[in-house]
């Protein structure tokens, strides 16, 4: 009888092509997602060496980082460098015969939203992309992580990666979440508890009742930010919700293949007694709606808290906190809910799915954003956008005063024209609050879609629970 294995162990074992004596493995890759920013040099490398894409049918490309979110982008992109990158992806997809969703296709969107939406992402797979937020796909019980461009080229040429196995870490969220608390609050709270290097060297499996209770959208939000906690990947064991989500999607197995897949997928769980090298447990009922105050995703506090002082920290974090506070223009001791906001951004691979738009619209219904506020919704894909229009959510956003944009990464990393100006303060549903992330000098507070909507209405960071009480 074999020793009990974790979910990560099982997926790993099923993908080892070759193992060297020192433990270095050649790992087979089932799905390779590609976007325009981290792939041009990899395709160029193939051309220079006369190599082909080994498995074009397992390779899926979509432009997302650079694309404008305003109309007309399918015929012309003003920024020359952005246009060249998108055109390069068009050409590379065509030349190498890989699956492609161009800007003109309604299925275009953020690569990590398109993959699951089209049924490319399935349980038990290995999934990589030249993008750190590939961790998102772990919500399906697939081993998914970001890679660099040299590794993109390696996967294109060989459909494998040279890897060493990470350690196993379990993050359990017990019990129920309180009202107003979402998947985003879970994932930020975990990073707040473990730090941005707390997961370094590990693959995290998220489990517990609060995780089981999440929808697939919520689970994707949780796994998406595993990388912000330093982990190579985040995983959630597949269950009925997973299978329900996948069934009928364009690239999901059908008929007899579906039945065979289900048999395999149901074996994808951590065995009783399997060993974890690190365990973190948070109580669901202890998690509050949170916001970030600094320039690292670990700078997380409940919205009811106050801005900390550098002296509240130890070691190198003292200087980092001092720098963060100066950059963010915040004074220790001020209430987080007193922080005034100029801009609200709802979108990204963290929170650009239909459930996120529903949560924000539920808060905004019948309300207006604060006068002078700049607010935008950037749906994660053309299909999310269409669904939101069909459900009447788009109208709620527009009536409230939001801009209703086309799909893409947009202001999450501001490679397209959607950027902050120096000193502009943004409540964002994205994943990184680094200095300059949303534009040079821009100040980012990370939070959930419902919290972002609440801030848009009041003009300052706001405890969404107060607004929920109003609507009841």
């Amino acid at each position: 009888m074999t020793a009990p294995r974790t979910l990560y162990d099982k997926i790993w074992d099923d993908h080892v092509v070759h193992q060297a004596e020192d433990g270095t493995c050649l790992l087979y890759i089932d799905r390779h997602l590609v976007h325009e920013v981290t792939s041009p040099q990899a395709f160029e490398g193939l051309r220079m060496t006369g190599r082909k894409v080994r498995a074009p049918e397992k390779t899926i490309a979509v432009p997302d980082h650079n694309v404008p979110t305003t109309p007309g982008r399918d015929t012309h992109i003003d920024n020359e460098e952005s246009r060249i990158q998108v055109e390069a992806l068009d050409k590379n997809a065509r030349d190498f015969g890989i699956n492609y969703y161009p800007v003109s296709d309604i299925r275009q969107g953020i690569v990590h939203i398109v993959g699951p939406e089209q049924g490319w992402t399935l349980p038990g797979m290995t999934v990589v992309c030249g993008d750190s937020h590939t961790a998102t796909h772990g919500a399906f019980g697939s081993l998914a992580h970001g890679i660099g461009t040299s590794e993109v080229e390696h996967v294109l040429a060989t459909q494998t990666l040279i890897q060493k196995k990470s350690k196993n870490m379990k993050v359990e969220i017990t019990g129920k979440l309180r009202p107003g608390v979402t998947a985003k609050d879970i994932t930020l709270s975990v990073i707040g508890a473990t730090g941005t290097a707390g997961g370094t060297g590990y693959v995290i499996e998220y489990c517990g009742e609060a995780i089981r209770d999440l929808s697939m959208e919520g689970r994707m939000t949780v796994c998406n930010m595993a990388i912000e906690g330093g982990a190579r990947a985040g995983l959630i064991a597949p269950d009925e919700k997973t299978f329900e989500y996948i069934k009928g999607r364009p690239h999901a197995p059908k008929g007899a293949a579906w039945e065979a897949a289900m048999t395999y997928w149901k074996s994808l769980f951590t065995d009783e007694g399997a060993h974890f090298d690190k365990v973190v447990v948070l109580k669901g009922e202890d998690i509050a709606p949170v916001v970030t105050w600094g320039t690292s995703p670990e700078d997380v506090l409940p919205i009811t808290g106050t801005v900390p002082a550098p002296e509240d920290f130890t070691g190198g974090k003292v200087e980092a906190a001092r720098r963060s506070l100066e950059y963010m223009g915040l004074t220790p001791g001020m209430k987080l809910s007193d922080i005034k906001i100029d801009t609200v951004f709802i979108g990204s691979c963290t929170n650009g799915r239909i459930e996120d738009l529903r949560a924000a619209a539920a808060i905004l219904k019948g309300k207006k954003i604060k006068p002078g506020m700049r607010a935008m919704v950037v749906p994660g894909s053309g299909l999310v956008r269409a669904q939101a229009e069909e459900e009447g959510l788009a109208q709620i956003f527009i009536d409230a005063g939001f801009e209703w944009r086309l799909a893409g990464c947009s202001m999450c990393l501001a490679m397209n024209p959607d950027q902050l100006s120096p000193g502009e303060r943004c409540a964002a549903t994205s994943n990184r609050n680094f200095e300059g992330r949303q534009g040079r000098g821009g100040r980012t507070h990370l939070l959930s879609p419902a919290m972002a909507a609440a801030a848009a209405v009041t003009g300052h960071l706001t405890d969404v629970r107060e607004m929920m009480a109003e609507t009841v």
């Binding site: 092509v17 060249i84 993008d131 890679i147 660099g148 040429a157 040279i162 290097a197 330093g230």
Partner: protein, 201 residues
Amino acid sequence: MDKFTTITGIAAPMPLVNIDTDMIIPKQFLKTIQRSGLGKNLFDEMRYTQDGAEIADFVLNREPYRKAEIIVAGDNFGCGSSREHAPWALLDFGIRCVISTSFADIFFNNCFKNGILPIVLPQEAVAVLMEDAQKGGNARMIVDLEAQTVTTSEGQSFGFEVDPFRKHCLLNGLDDIGLTLEKAASIDTFEARAGLLRPWV
């Protein structure tokens, strides 16, 4: 990829923790379709004002660090995105080695693909090296990959660990795609077997 054997060079001290990839190379420079030319934009927003003037007290704008080949950094260097533009920018500037107590996983991998050696050492050792780097002037640090040692300008040495396969690739400047393609038969066998076990993939 250039071989990495021994460096005797200037080490720049960057004690800040959590230096992220957005700091190393901000996103506006990711629009390139080439690997080269990013060195001038390394640490762009820390290094230049909005108008493009150098910020005098930023370490890489000061002598002798303008010619640094090594960075001694605070914890968790390279956290954030997967952008390989970060090691490309470091390399283009002339950095061949980064020393810290910890690195983000993807950045760490990316370094090895570009002939950069990331070295993990305990806090006490990094503190000694940080102090040595802060001397500036003619102080030179020595990184010897074959011997797996870092030596301060005063001759104090620290041993470090490095994965044997990665060491081999760095010492010989090997392209690992070529090495993997030598295992093409194993990949074929795996695909045939996986095709039977998981035909829906």
